[in-house]
């Protein structure tokens, strides 16, 4: 869905995962990981939108995002 010339810097994702897991990453794993991240971000934004609407905010505020972060992360716990 997300359009754009370059969706994300692949090397960056690889590096992030590598740093956190202290393991090497096979060639195309970063794509899947980014896919997972996209799913997470979708969940996060959806929840944040719901939260913002409940709070009566017009847009999505940082507060609502922060409130939802914990929940979304727990949803994506492996």
């Amino acid at each position: 869905m997300a359009a754009g010339q370059k969706l994300y810097p692949r090397a960056t994702v690889k590096k992030i995962v590598k740093a956190h897991s202290k393991r090497n990453v096979t060639k195309n794993v970063d794509v899947l990981i980014f896919l997972d991240y996209a799913l997470f971000l979708q969940t996060l934004m959806k929840e944040a939108g719901i939260n913002a609407k409940q709070a009566g905010e017009r847009g999505i505020s940082a507060k609502s995002v922060k409130k939802v972060t914990e929940l979304s992360l727990s949803k994506f716990k492996g």
Binding site: I16, A19, H20, R23, V65
Partner: protein
């Protein structure tokens, strides 16, 4: 004129008999004089004498007085007039003491009421006697009340003396604050006090009050005094900056905040991720030229931390051998010592940059004290350098440079102090924010570029239904924080899966497993379908390789297992 002449001697005599006679002769002035006479004598006597006053006096006096309508009714009905004579007495008394207070209209009203009562009852004589008996005590009471009227106010004053006993009740409960709380309740007290005795009221209210006030006090004290402050200091930084699950959060935050790196490298990270081989060498380079005190401190600190961790990593046999990153860390060790010397010199002045920001100083000082207390103990060093274990610490150091033990101590101090700098920076949210962070493994990593995250988040926000959804900077920061946490969490999980599978590298299968466990994929939803939905075509093509590696994975498993 004759009436006035007679009024003169009457004033001189001022006897009761004169009183009775005067009204006959003189209209008004005699009344006033009578008033003075009455005042001189006891009110009770005067009342009795006035009660004996003959009926005709009132009509004449009234006639001379003029406007009072009461005399007419008196003239018309003699019987009623007799009945009224006592009323006239009241009139005299009332007029004498408060001529202004009782208006003729009011008197007329009273008389009419009395007349009605008299008219209703057949036996007038009985009425008379009964009335006189009734009214005399009434009148005396009225006169008493009027005399006492000015004194009644002091009765109102009595409640204030009653208040001090309440305070005495409040004192055992606790502090001066209670008094403030009671002020609201005082009005309630005043109402019952007039009727009842003060003590009783106090007791009753005191019974009611203590529970209420106690509850309020407890809440106030707990909230204000201790707990909020503590929580704010201890929990906020952790909750804000990092996930609770990992102890190392501080680590990443510290390093991420080391401003010089972030600022200088920012461009590189977003596009190319400058340090391709690994960041450590860059770190050292950066550390080499110390420009300012603050920068040198941060650099030195970071370098020290890295070096410690790298040493630990070296010692650990488990994860180590295969990774390129580890080798780079090894290289970093020697340059550290060389570069450390310049770092140590400025280390004496770490307090200064900390103290520059006034807001955080208090907390910083507290932490300073705690950590300084603990400085000597190696166990706490562990906490700060999360993954480091004591034996690991000692072993690498001794072979490298036993002589540099002092330097190590200083560097450790720097790290502790550096914490404060970093926390300060984090709080103030100084511009170059965590462009470079360091994972719990001591590996530097960039965060996903904000532009990418924002674009993605915006699209998702619009998918949520809000077509005009915009993400401001604060929201983006929150999302970036969530992003960092997500990658930290996901990477940990992936690493755990890979390790469990006995692999050194994270595989597609790991990610597939992760997504399945996250309930993102199920029988109907394959990762590939998700990819089709969320990823552009170029990436999709790369993903098509996935099923093959999966097959390979099964073959690989035995081979990789050392």
């Amino acid at each position: 004129m004759s009436a006035k002449d007679s009024s003169g001697p009457s004033a001189v005599n001022r006897t009761v008999n004169n009183l009775s006679f005067k009204p006959k002769i003189t209209p008004r002035k005699s009344e006033l004089e009578d008033v003075s006479a009455e005042i001189n004598e006891t009110t009770h006597d005067a009342l009795r004498q006035l009660a004996n006053i003959p009926k005709p006096t009132t009509p004449r006096r009234a006639a001379s007085a003029g406007p009072s309508p009461s005399h007419r009714s008196a003239r018309r009905t003699p019987g009623a007039a007799q009945a009224r004579t006592p009323g006239g007495v009241t009139k005299y008394g009332g007029s004498a003491r408060k001529p202004i207070a009782v208006t003729p209209h009011g008197r007329a009203a009273q008389r009419e009421l009395e007349a009605r009562r008299a008219g209703l009852t057949p036996g007038k004589d009985r009425r008379k006697s009964g009335r006189q008996q009734r009214e005399t005590p009434r009148d005396t009471l009225r006169t008493l009340s009027r005399l006492l009227a000015p004194k009644t106010q002091p009765l109102v004053q009595t409640p204030p003396p009653a208040k001090p006993p309440r305070k005495s009740y409040a004192l055992p409960e606790f502090d001066d604050d209670d008094d403030d709380g009671f002020e609201l309740k005082r009005p309630r007290l005043s109402l019952p006090i007039g009727e009842e005795t003060d003590e009783d009221d106090d007791e009753d209210e005191s019974l009611l009050l203590p529970p209420r006030s106690a509850g309020l006090e407890d809440e106030d004290f707990t909230v204000q005094s201790v707990e909020l402050g503590r929580r704010a200091r201890n929990e906020q930084p952790l909750s804000r900056l990092s996930r609770g699950s990992f102890g190392n959060i501080r680590m990443s935050d510290r390093f991420g905040n080391s401003s010089p790196f972030g600022a200088e490298r920012y461009g590189d990270d977003s596009s190319v991720l400058g340090p391709t081989g690994y960041d450590d060498e860059d770190m050292n380079d950066m550390a080499g030229p110390p420009d300012e005190n603050t920068e040198t401190l941060n650099l030195g600190l970071d370098r020290g931390m890295l070096s410690l961790q790298s040493e630990n990593d070296d010692i650990r046999p488990s994860g180590f051998t295969g990774d390129d990153t580890e080798n780079t860390f090894l290289f970093t060790v020697p340059p550290r010592e060389a570069s450390e010397e310049p770092v140590d010199e400025p280390s004496g002045s770490p307090d200064l940059p900390v103290s520059n920001e006034p807001e955080i100083v208090d907390e910083v000082e507290i932490q300073m004290n705690d950590e300084r207390m603990d400085m000597n103990e190696p166990s706490i060093i562990e906490d700060q350098v999360n993954d480091v274990e004591e034996p690991d610490m000692d072993e690498p150091e001794s072979p490298e440079a036993a002589s540099s033990a002092l330097e190590m101590n200083t560097s450790i101090q720097d790290t502790t102090l550096g914490d404060f700098d970093i926390t300060n920076q984090v709080r103030s949210k100084v511009g170059p924010r965590k462009k470079v962070k360091i994972s719990k493994h001591g590996i530097q990593y960039p965060s996903l570029p904000a532009g990418v995250v924002k674009k993605l988040a915006t699209t998702f926000a619009r998918m949520g239904g809000n077509s005009k959804a915009k993400i401001n900077k604060e929201t983006l920061d929150a999302i970036m924080q969530a992003t960092d946490w997500f990658f930290e969490q996901a990477s940990d999980d992936l690493g755990a899966y890979a390790q469990h599978a006995g692999r050194k590298t994270i595989d597609e299968s790991d990610v597939v497993t992760l997504m399945a466990r996250q309930r993102q994929t199920n029988a109907n939803t394959t990762p590939f379908s998700l990819a089709q939905k969320y990823l552009p075509r170029e990436l999709l093509q790369e993903l098509r390789m996935v099923p093959l590696p999966k097959l390979k994975k099964t073959r690989k498993l035995p081979t990789i297992e050392e």
